[in-house]
């Protein structure tokens, strides 16, 4: 049923239809509306059976999810920014133990300085944590990805984080087709844990592994995550079959078939980029867009295939690796190694700075003219901070 709904609400109602059994909730902007809505749905009985637990920190939130998931319950939580960092130890623990927890990350910048607005520094900082990372472009996709996430997590026995831009998506009211409970039930089977704490069959979970076997355990974790490269398109395809719309997958291309210049980005900025690309096309430019949906595991072959024919790639990303440069940009260069395409990295939208059509026109024009350097900070204006503040 199509509804005009706030993104957070759409996610909460969709998660509720996925029959989570334990929800751990700790509030942080801009995720609060999600956990508030889930709390309401649990209390009114629309979401049951479900244990909704108000925890004392994000570290506790992920820890409660770990305990619940290890006991065979479908577990969910949500966080952002500082909260994600506060639970980092538990993130690695969850992926290392192979627990299929699903978590929403309402992408927000990381302090210091404290900043509650959107960028990708939080989830990007955890790209090595062993969690699968999916990025939503719209609120529709954000809702849909949660359904796919539970399916994916439980199939592979790996945790999945669904990233949606804080405020820009979470607090935007737009139309969403919410899945019905019947549709979700047809697509998402009950959770059958691969390993579970059960007095009928006791097992030890979380043993200490020494030098003699640690490498192998970690290798197997990597191999398991790589299997998501096959699973994600399949799960997305089955989603399309059941729900009648395309959502998720590894990446999406827009007007790239004959493109000399391809723009690559993740998340909500893709909408604005597509508007700009249409305008540039009208001006005669051969330009297209690749929207990356899955960042971990990194779909290296698919990125190479989507970008390989381009003369240049402009990567627009909302985070960067201090002391090195772009993160997504580096991964794109990796995918294109050996190919002649130039890769221009553009860091944009940090701390919620709006990425405007005007700015995109400017930077893409520079890119098309090959006047962009290796790394550009979009709309950088040093007059905004006191001189010598470096």
């Amino acid at each position: 049923m199509r509804r005009q709904l706030e993104g957070s609400r759409a996610v909460a109602e969709t998660v509720a239809r996925c029959r989570p059994e334990v929800i751990a909730a700790y509030p942080i902007s801009p995720q609060t509306h999600i956990v508030e809505a889930l709390s309401q749905l649990t209390k009114t009985g629309e979401l049951e059976p479900c244990e909704f637990i108000n925890v004392e920190s994000e570290f506790a939130a992920m820890s409660v999810a770990i305990g619940a998931s290890a006991t065979g319950a479908r577990a969910y939580t949500a966080t952002a920014s500082q909260g994600l960092l506060f639970m980092v130890e538990a993130l690695y623990n969850a992926s290392g133990l192979g627990l299929p927890i699903v978590m929403t990350v309402a992408n927000r910048a990381i302090g210091a300085p404290i900043n509650i607005w959107n960028d990708h520094s939080d989830s990007m900082s955890q790209r090595d944590s062993g969690w699968i990372q999916l990025y939503a472009e719209t609120n529709q996709e954000a809702a849909d990805l949660h359904v796919q996430a539970f399916r994916l997590a439980e199939e592979l026995s790996l945790p999945v984080m669904v990233c949606m831009d804080g405020f820009i998506l979470t607090h935007a009211v737009e139309e969403v087709e919410l899945p019905t409970r019947e549709q979700v039930d047809a697509y998402l089977p009950p959770f059958v844990p691969r390993q579970v704490l059960d007095p009928d069959e006791p097992m030890t979970i979380g043993a200490m592994v020494g030098p003699e076997a640690f490498t192998e355990v970690k290798y197997l974790m990597h191999a398991k995550q790589m299997r998501a490269l096959e699973a994600i398109p399949r799960i997305a395809s089955e989603f399309e079959h059941e729900f009648g719309r395309s959502s998720g997958g590894l990446l999406r291309t827009y007007r790239t078939e004959d493109a000399d210049t391809v723009v690559l980005a993740l998340g909500s900025v893709l909408g604005t980029i597509e508007d700009v690309v249409d305008e540039l096309r009208e001006q005669g430019e051969r330009i297209g867009v690749v929207g990356l949906k899955c960042f971990r595991p990194y779909p290296l072959d698919e990125v190479r295939a989507a970008l390989g024919h381009a003369r240049r790639v402009v990567v627009i990303e909302k985070a960067f690796a201090v002391g090195v440069g772009g993160i997504v940009g580096q991964n794109v260069r990796l995918a294109l190694s050996g190919l002649p395409a130039a890769v221009y990295g553009v860091i944009a939208g940090l701390g919620g700075r709006p990425i405007t059509k005007a700015s995109l026109h400017r930077v893409l024009r520079e890119g098309i003219d090959d006047r962009l350097g290796h790394l550009t900070f979009l709309d950088l204006d040093l007059d905004r901070v006191p001189a010598g503040a470096t």
């Binding site: 059994e21 334990v22 751990a24 059976p49 479900c50 244990e51 637990i53 108000n54 925890v55 004392e56 920190s57 570290f59 506790a60 820890s63 409660v64 999810a65 770990i66 305990g67 619940a68 998931s69 290890a70 006991t71 065979g72 319950a73 577990a75 130890e89 538990a90 623990n93 133990l97 704490l197 059960d198 007095p199 069959e201 006791p202 097992m203 030890t204 979970i205 979380g206 043993a207 200490m208 592994v209 020494g210 076997a213």
Partner: protein, 328 residues
Amino acid sequence: MRQPIKYYQVGSFAVGNRLLDPDERAVQADPSRSNTLTSGHRACQGCGEALGARYVLDAAMRAAEGRLIAANATGCLEVFTTPYPESAWTLPWVHSLFGNAPAVATGVAAALKVKGRTDVRVIGQGGDGGTVDIGLGCLSGMFERGDDVLFVCYDNEAYMNTGVQRSGATPPAARTATTQAVGPEPGNVFGQGKSAPLIAMAHEIPYVATATIADLRDLEAKVERAMGLHGPRYLHVLVTCPLGWGCDASASIRIARLATQSGLFPVFEAEDGDVTDVTKIRRPVPVEDYLRPQKRFAHLFSPVRRDDVIAQVQSRADRNIQRFGLVD
């Protein structure tokens, strides 16, 4: 908690006294006990924690009729019981992180509740480091929410697994690797201390108790009592660490008894925030009797005898005796 028979005459060996009525025998004396923490683990000789955990878990398993899940913090107990690919645990057991055992236990309890498995009970456990320091936030959250978890702290008064560093439970004047016995004020500081049992009582949870490995039947009885209740319950068990405390491996139980008899470790029970029972000290001993046999207090006696520090320790013991009414 009144024990029907006192064992002071024969020491704790009487725990397995075959002359006792079967009903009054300890769980450990029963050949059909669970052996939840079974043999083959890698604990040190004389480890108080291994002893305490064995008693606690078997008593809890008996009370839960074998349907128990354990969440364990990082620490000695976790490390010496689960060297992959072996495990000494015969119950479902999960180790997550250092500071989150109470939260993991909460998660386990929530999952059991949502699945309607009300017959399965949950026990969380960890050392003093994982409970009173890094895990305190999660412990408090579990208490405050009223989660149905028995949490047991095995207190050996330092971060033993990592090499005997000071924790929030380290007693004043004790030598540890980070409170060395050097300088004008050797050993640990004389702070206000951090009493986890009192903190637990401040949360007014259904049951709080302290115990030691010196009175194992009492320890089992308290576990049984705790398991007969629901909601958050907390058990704080003093467990000797011969290596960290610098005493003989054979002296573990004896040292723990001296801790109680000196008044330094009060043994009591509390319900809903109020003390309901204390174990009286039958024959109080000066703290010096407790301090002397432990190398971690050796600097109080040699090269120079520190009467001032010993007196300070004594006054803490006296305060406990008075506060809890340990001596008639």
